[in-house]
């Protein structure tokens, strides 16, 4: 089996709090996967571990056969749920920065998407609206020809039109041989584009299946199943 991501007995503790508990997971290439779970389920912790900005307390994580390192960071394209842009930079400078550091970055694609949004490339990032900053972050992430895209809450807190823009940007621009891992609560908005879903609860994977398989097995949409699994 061709594995892009493998988590084995992955555990992460923050002091006395268990964020991930013996999590096991395998992701294959060429899939769009929804990472779904309630607040505090461990989604962001798992994403941070994949991106190499957290170390597991125990267990291991392999990305394309390697533990998280500078090497894996060159094949993982990450969109965090915070605005990480340097305020003093212009749009052009941040694109140049991505071109400098990532050999898989496609600057022409980034410029064309920036132009389509009507954003001036000489604009400082500090003067862009919150929505445009989020779009620039997404464009930077999706302009990479990465093997794994990891998007943490990309459609949270944006209006429906922007949500559609974000989803279409993801679908139209990702490397087709890669996988896209999308963490979100807004399942109904992305259900139609997902190939697989992972339900995560109390730091453990409680369900991992294809969307079609789930619909067939449970006779309901992923959104309905989510409400069923995670109901209080």
């Amino acid at each position: 089996m061709n594995e892009l991501l493998r988590c084995e007995g992955l555990t992460k503790r923050y002091g006395g709090v268990l964020a991930l508990n013996n999590l096991n997971l395998i992701i294959e290439p060429g899939k769009i996967i929804g990472l779904l779970g309630p607040n505090g389920a461990g989604k962001t912790t798992l994403i941070k571990l994949i991106c190499g900005i957290l170390m597991p307390s125990s267990g291991r994580i392999l990305i394309d056969g390697n533990i998280p390192s500078a090497e894996t960071k060159s094949i993982v394209s990450y969109l965090p749920d915070v605005n990480y842009l340097n305020r003093w930079m212009t749009v052009e400078q941040i694109i140049n920065m991505f071109s400098d550091f990532y050999s898989d970055f496609r600057p022409q694609l980034a410029y064309s998407m920036i132009q389509n949004l009507g954003i001036n490339k000489t604009s400082r990032l500090s003067v862009l609206s919150k929505g445009n900053k989020e779009k620039v972050c997404l464009i930077l992430t999706m302009s990479r020809g990465a093997k794994l895209y990891v998007l943490d809450e990309p459609i949270a807190g944006v209006d429906p039109a922007t949500r559609d823009y974000i989803i279409s940007t993801i679908i139209n621009n990702y490397n087709k041989e890669a996988s896209v891992l999308i963490s979100t609560h807004l399942i109904a908005d992305i259900e139609s584009v997902l190939d697989e879903v992972i339900f995560i609860k109390n730091g453990t994977v409680v369900l991992h299946n294809t969307v079609d398989g789930l619909r067939e097995q449970h006779g309901m949409s992923v959104d309905e199943l989510f409400r069923e699994v995670f109901k209080w």
Binding site: K48, C51, G52, I53, L54, M55, S69, A70, E71, K73, S74, V76, Y78, P80, V82, N83, Y84, L85, N86, W88, M97, D100, F101, Y102
Partner: protein, 271 residues
Amino acid sequence: MVRKLIKYDFIPLLRLLLPAYLVLFGVALINRLIQLFELVEDSSDSFSMIYEMLFSSSIVLYCLGIAVCTVMTLIVCAIRFYQALYSNEGYLNNTLPVTPSQHIFAKLLSSLIFCAFSIVTIFLSFVVLTFGELNIEIFKAIGYLLNRAIVADAANTFMFIIEITITIIFGYISMLLLLFTCVSIGQLANKRKILLSVGVFFGIYTIGQFAATALFIGLAISGYAVHEWIENNPAQFFHCFFVLLFTAEIIVSFTGYFLSKYLLTKKLNLA
């Protein structure tokens, strides 16, 4: 990769520090202009008072400017280290395909470049301040003293110049790595990260000062041997002093580097 990291560190550091360097130049220039209106013997009392007040104010400002320029460079370098790696910017910088060592080296090198800039700025501002005959006299005096030292004992003079230069360079390296370590320890806290960093820095600095004071008191009360050593062979004593200082700086630098690297690799705590 280190070169690329330095490139993207350089601009924010320049944006933050250039105004401070320009202000120092400005104060030196104002002081030099005030000197052009130097008092003549028959100046009135009120003019004399105003002149003295302006002159002494600008000299005080200049001295403050030098202190601010030196300290601010170090503080800004520490702030940039925090911002780039432990604030929201850390989500970008820590997911770049570079190792924590490369991050630390890049930050260290770009900070050292700006420390060198601050020294050059202070020197050039001094040239501006003393521009004219005074300038020539000062450099003549320095040249004369250096020449006398070389004639008296060339080997030791050159050794001292090398030792002082190395001590200053490693002094900056150890201070920057100590600051990076304190910032890295501070980010472990979930709240008030900067406050913890400052607290850790002053804690370590105070311990260092106590250790140095204890060492010097120990030397002073060690009896006749040290006094005899200084009297009979002062050059050898001071060479040993610089070697000791240099060794302490190397130890602080290595400890700071490995601790920062460990915290950046294993204990990154992005909010």
